[in-house]
């Protein structure tokens, strides 16, 4: 108690920094996502961890051999050293996949399925069309439009031959 009072005369900062230096051990639990992790990425070629965490006996022996000259290592040992440190090579991690075929196929399949659904809907859900779209009505309507001289210069009535009473060829 007295000591802490004496320290407070020097400055409260001294005590708080010593707590920080000890780390928050016992105060804060270390979350798993805050620890370094391994990942194979083109833009992070050297991850913070080795891939294999627990080395077997041969792997440990290989690591010892690594400390000597590298020319003495065989091809298999070199590949073994690489595989200890990394999961996939650049060629493996960059390889393409055939997923696009599945995607395009699925999309087209659902287009077709939708077509069936729309067709069923047209036949069984919608009621009859208005009577003004029937053939006789459209004929009467067209006659009326021609009598009214609708768009006589370049449009509708311009295509009708009034002398011969038929559409112009």
């Amino acid at each position: 108690m007295l000591a802490s009072r004496a320290f407070s005369l020097i400055g409260k900062r001294a005590i708080s920094t010593s707590i920080c230096l000890r780390g928050h051990a016992g105060v804060v639990k270390v979350e798993d996502f805050s620890l370094p992790n391994y990942i194979d990425r083109r833009d992070i070629p050297l991850p913070q961890l080795e891939y294999v965490r627990d080395l077997s006996a041969e792997q440990k022996a290989l690591k010892e051999k690594e400390k000597a000259s590298w020319s003495a290592l065989s091809i298999d040992e070199k590949v073994g050293l690489y595989r200890i440190k990394f999961c996939e090579t650049f060629a493996e991690m960059n390889r393409g996949s055939n997923e696009w075929k599945t995607v395009i196929g699925g999309v087209l399949f659902f287009f077709g399925l939708t077509a069936f659904i729309v067709l069923w809907q047209r036949l069984y859900v919608y009621g009859p069309v208005p009577h003004t779209l029937s053939e006789e009505w459209v004929a009467m309507q067209t006659k009326r439009m021609l009598d009214m001289r609708v768009n006589p210069i370049q449009g509708f009535s311009a295509k009708w031959d009034y002398d011969k009473n038929e559409w112009k060829k």
Binding site: R42, P45, L46, Q48, E66, K67, S69, W70, S71, A72, L73, I75, K78, V79, L81, Y82, I84, K85, F86, T89, F90, A91, E92, N94, R95
Partner: protein, 82 residues
């Protein structure tokens, strides 16, 4: 920030020329880490992108150093095929 003597912080050198890469390979040897030397050669090839001649030029320049340390290229190890 960070200690630039360690390869994973020495990243700035990887994208410069072959002379800097020789220094990098020295660092790998000093750290007794063979795998990252191979990894860096893979990265050089990857960074070259469509220009394959960049990688072959770098390997050609580095050949003496590679032979001296016994570093194999990824092709020699068969690691360039998926």
């Amino acid at each position: 920030m960070g200690d630039f003597n360690y390869p994973h912080n020495d990243w700035v050198y990887v994208t410069s020329g072959p002379e800097a890469k020789i220094k990098f390979l020295d660092t790998c040897r000093w750290l007794n880490d063979f795998a990252i030397a191979v990894r860096i050669l893979e990265v050089v090839k990857d960074k070259g992108g469509p220009h394959k001649e960049i990688y072959s030029y770098v390997i050609q320049e580095l050949r003496p150093t590679l032979n001296e340390f016994g570093i194999s290229t990824p092709e020699a190890l068969g690691l360039d095929k998926a």
